[in-house]
């Protein structure tokens, strides 16, 4: 139950808002934040895949990231045997058709556009946390 959520987000304000939204939704899982794509990949593929370590239960991935962008992170994780089943939810500001379709093509489990309104944002985080951490049956490893 005490599995980690990985948040890949470079905007400090959004990081804090996400944390706030999670806590308001009573989601008590440990939240790991990585602020660029490279850090995120290093964390998942090296730290989490080390013996005895656990993979994150859910990855919240922004698309626009420094160094390695979100779509590349998604593609890399999906092409690695060890990580290809981790639920990955794209959480981004973009509503471009191309971004949405590319994300799904690369194997994103869900695509959520961050609403400007904070209340709606809290609602969105609440529902995705509830769904992916409680309702959904996690993949076996």
């Amino acid at each position: 139950m005490n599995k980690t959520i990985l948040l890949v987000e470079d905007n400090p304000s959004d990081i804090e808002l996400t944390k706030r939204a999670l806590s308001k939704s009573r989601i008590a899982n440990e939240l790991v934040v990585k602020e660029d794509g490279k850090e995120a990949l290093d964390y998942v593929l090296q730290e989490c895949c080390a013996p005895g370590a656990l993979l994150p239960a859910l990855i919240l991935l922004d698309l626009k990231l420094p160094k390695v962008d979100g779509l590349t992170v998604l593609k890399t994780l999906r092409s690695d045997e060890r990580t290809r089943r981790i639920p990955i939810v794209i959480l981004t500001t973009s509503s471009e058709q191309l971004d949405i379709s590319s994300s799904y093509d690369l194997g994103a489990n869900s695509y959520i556009r961050k609403p400007v309104d904070f209340n709606q944002f809290v609602e969105a985080v609440n529902s995705l946390g509830l769904y992916w951490l409680v309702v959904n049956e996690a993949p076996p490893y």
Partner: protein, 861 residues
């Protein structure tokens, strides 16, 4: 036509009758053939019958012979037996002694032994020794009594004659002493003691012969199987003939059946006893016709008859006769069929021949009539007048061109002399070439005036087989038109000469050399002289390559050759540049006349070409500029895309931060904020919210410009209805009258048209929210031949002075507090309409509603 075909039919009908007479000999030949065949069959059958009869007769005779011989032999054997007994002294002596002393047992034994030996061969059924009184002394077999009284006669005969007496076939009690009788023969042999010759016999031996054992089988035996054949033995008995053996066809005949000889002259048995011998035809005891062979059996009173029913004897013959007759009949029938078929074929061929002859005749007749019509029609169709004259110049025929002239009525001119009719003179007129033709026997022509017109007269002689003139043909052609045409041509020539000399185009006329290798200049007009810088006198008569050597180099000469060869007119430009500067430019048009002459028409268009070149350069510059601009535009579009992406992504993030942290502030620090502070925070959140919507609207606008069109048939009525439905759900408190025209369709992108209509209808809904009886209409009509759609409301309206700005982004007509909005809705609508190749415009009156009109696919519908 009809009458001729009817006559053809009647001819054919005659031909049919005629044809039947011709071929009627077939029938007698056929009858004769049948008779000959019948006679042949009959005589053959007669011969066959004779042969058969002969063979049957032979068969019957030989069987009868054999049987007669066998029976005679059998009879003589019996007699021999009797003689042997009679002349055996020891036996006679013993018998005599035993009769005298019947008690002598040894003698009886001896006699009995001997009798049994004697008895053992076939044919004998009983042997008895009688004493002189006829009493039985000894018998084998022993259990038989004395012979019956019937035999007294034989006994006494034997006693009296002292010789052997034979008793012919007779009935007697059967050998077992049963009731009834059987047929027997017997031998009566007197017993004479050899030591006492001359004495009265002391007794008689009686030997009974059973004919069933050998005789009757001998009679009955037959080598071949036959249904009716039989042999019979008869003898004469007084007036009767008596049958001795049992017969095949009737029972119990032996010694019972008899016929009176007198009454049965054809009965073979009667014939036999009358002494006839050989093979005879007769009627047997059953009344049937039979063939019989009769033989006397020597040594007996018997006659053997071997017979066979005639029906059986000739059965095979009759079968064969019927077969032959049938075969003959079939053959004759077949023959008759063949003969009939042959006759029919002959008839048909002959008829077909007649029909085709008739048709050929008919065709020739028609052909002849057609040829005559051809010639008559041709004769009459020729527009020249034609007269056929006999050798005395009397008119025989005149064609229609002559007789159509009322002066020469056909009835009035035929038979009259030519000059009388044509000229009203008594002899040929002076110009007439007829006398010359008559003399020379060759055709001649003259032009002369007739009825005030000029005519050309041609006279051809018609020669007979001997080469003498039989008549003449006069052909009269009206040449007054020709004379006029000649004058017209001269006038026309003058007009064209004037034109030629004074036109501004240069014209040269060339005549090709015979081999087409060059062209001689025939003429050139004044403009031509000027353009080519030449003088008429200097170039006419020269070859073109001599007069203008540069034509070869410039390709014009090749063009002349081509036009001369193909006959097709063509244009060709010749020009020359000195450096970049154009010296001259001639536009040549070369054509070939029917006469074979070439004509070149040319213009000096040097100035025009110079002007065109300047124009062309200008156009090229313009095109280059368009290409550059297009490239710039493409870059701008790219930048715009990047911009809109960054707007969507980057501009919204801080906005969310502002909204988020304001909310956090309001939540976490509400106890430290007074009501005004809280209100400010709420304002901040609202403003960010609005900004978010603005960004959203802008993005949609840019997306519409980028989206690919996917045109289909779109049901606008349906879309409008659904939009209204959604609005009613969203604003249940509002009561708006909606009037949507049914069956409004458009060709376009479903998604974009839906966005467009949504914007327009929402607008109408929004701007009529303060109107008490709000009405929204959607429909379409035709205006200037164009389908125009409209969305109309009776809401706030606006001043038309600002109508131009209405469709630009972020332009608003109303205060946000009156009617909230982003100001991109109508800009979106306009872009969608533009992308569909349509126009949008608006008519509005402040406080009195607005109507938005739009078209789609203008120029396409």
């Amino acid at each position: 036509m009809k009458s001729s075909s009817e006559s053809a039919i009647s001819n054919i009908a005659n031909a049919i009758q005629h044809g039947n007479k011709r071929f009627s000999y077939i029938l007698p030949v056929f009858v004769l053939l049948s008779v000959v065949l019948g006679v042949l069959i009959a005589s053959y059958l007669t011969y066959e019958r004779k042969q058969l009869q002969l063979s049957i007769n032979n068969d019957l005779a030989s069987i009868a012979d054999i049987k007669a011989t066998q029976i005679a032999n059998w009879n003589s054997e019996r007699r021999e037996d009797a003689i042997q007994m009679f002349s055996t002294p020891l036996l006679q002596s013993m018998a005599s002694k035993y009769i005298d002393n019947p008690a002598d047992e040894s003698l009886r034994k001896q006699l009995k032994q001997w009798m049994q030996v004697y008895f053992s061969p076939a044919d004998y059924s009983w042997m008895a020794l009688l004493d002189a009184n006829g009493d039985l002394v000894l018998s084998v077999p022993a259990d038989r009594g004395a012979p019956s009284q019937l035999h007294n006669e034989y006994f006494h005969d034997a006693m009296d004659s002292q010789g052997i007496v034979s008793a012919d076939l007779h009935r007697d009690v059967d050998d077992h002493g049963r009731k009834g009788s059987e047929i027997f023969m017997s031998m009566w042999i007197p017993v004479i003691d050899p030591q006492k010759p001359g004495d009265k016999p002391s007794g008689v031996w009686m030997v009974q012969i059973d004919p069933k054992i050998s005789l009757f089988p001998l009679v009955r035996s037959w080598q071949v199987t036959s249904k009716t054949s039989e042999s019979l033995l008869v003898r004469k008995n007084g007036e009767y003939v008596e049958f001795l053996n049992d017969l095949r066809h009737t029972s119990n005949a032996a010694l019972n059946l008899r016929f009176k000889i007198e009454e049965t002259p054809r009965l073979p048995a009667s014939l036999a006893v009358r002494g006839k011998e050989g093979v005879l035809e007769g009627i047997d005891y059953r009344g049937k016709k039979v063939l019989s062979a009769i033989r006397k059996v020597y040594g007996t009173p018997w006659y053997i008859i071997v017979k066979m029913d005639k029906s059986e004897a000739y059965a095979s013959f009759w079968q064969r006769a019927i077969l032959f007759s049938l075969a003959g009949l079939v053959f004759i029938l077949l023959l008759s069929q063949i003969a009939a078929g042959y006759q029919r074929k002959r008839d048909r061929d002959w008829l077909l021949q007649q029909v085709s002859l008739e048709q050929e005749k008919h065709r020739l007749q028609e052909n002849y009539e057609m040829v005559a019509r051809h010639w008559q029609t041709t004769f009459d169709s020729i527009s020249d007048g034609i007269l056929l004259l006999d050798k005395n110049a009397n008119i025989l025929r005149a064609n229609k061109a002559i007789t159509d002239n009322s002066r020469y009525d056909a009835a009035a001119i035929i038979g009259r002399s030519c000059w009388k009719v044509m000229h009203g003179t008594n002899k040929p007129i002076e110009d007439c070439p007829l006398p010359q033709v008559m003399a020379s026997k060759k055709s001649a022509t003259a032009e002369l005036q007739l009825d005030g017109n000029w005519v050309a007269l041609t006279i051809d002689p018609i020669l007979d087989n001997d080469g003498n003139i039989a008549g003449t043909v006069h052909i009269i052609r009206d040449i007054s038109g020709q004379k006029q045409a000649e004058k017209a041509l001269r006038d026309s020539e003058a007009i064209f000469r004037e034109l030629f000399e004074h036109m501004s185009n240069g014209v040269s006329i060339y005549e090709p050399l015979d081999d087409g290798s060059n062209f001689v200049i025939k003429d050139i007009n004044a403009a031509g002289e000027k353009i080519t810088h030449s003088k008429y006198e200097e170039i006419v008569g020269k070859q073109v390559t001599d007069a203008f050597p540069q034509v070869v180099e410039k390709g014009l000469f090749a063009q002349f050759m081509k036009v001369n060869r193909t006959g097709k007119a063509s244009s060709f430009a010749t020009y020359n540049y000195i450096g970049d500067e154009l010296e001259y430019w001639l536009d040549n048009y070369v054509l070939k006349l029917e006469s074979g002459e070439l004509i070149a028409i040319y213009n000096d268009i040097t100035e025009r070409v110079k002007a065109d070149a300047a124009n062309k350069k200008l156009n090229e510059d313009l095109e280059q500029r368009v290409v550059e601009r297009t490239a710039q535009l493409a870059v701008a579009n790219k930048e715009l895309e990047a911009f809109s992406y960054s707007v969507s992504h980057d501009l919204r993030s801080p906005l969310r931060g502002i909204a988020g942290w304001s909310t956090a502030l309001a939540e976490d620090y509400s106890d430290r904020l007074d009501s005004q502070g809280k209100m400010y925070l709420e304002r901040i959140v609202n403003e960010t919210h609005r900004m978010g919507q603005l960004i959203e609207g802008l993005l949609k606008l840019s997306q519409i410009s980028k989206a690919e069109l996917c045109p289909t048939q779109v049901d606008l009525t349906d879309i409008a209805n659904r939009i209204i439905e959604r609005l009613r759900d969203e604003y249940p408190e509002r009561n708006v009258a909606v009037n949507i025209q049914a069956g409004v369709y458009a060709q376009g992108d479903l998604h974009l048209l839906e966005i467009m209509l949504t914007n327009l209808i929402k607008n109408a809904w929004k701007f009529s929210m303060k109107t008490p009886n709000a009405i929204i209409e959607f429909g379409f009509g035709v205006q200037d031949g164009q389908q125009v759609y409209y969305v109309k409301d009776n809401g706030a309206g606006f001043d038309m002075a600002f109508a131009e700005k209405l469709f630009e982004a972020f332009q608003r007509m109303h205060k946000a507090s009156d009617f909230p909005g982003t100001g991109v809705g109508l800009a979106t609508v306009k872009r969608i309409v533009n992308r569909h190749g349509g126009r949008i415009w608006v008519e509005a009156i402040p406080d009195n509603g607005a109507t938005f009109f739009f078209t789609l696919e203008e120029g396409k519908s």
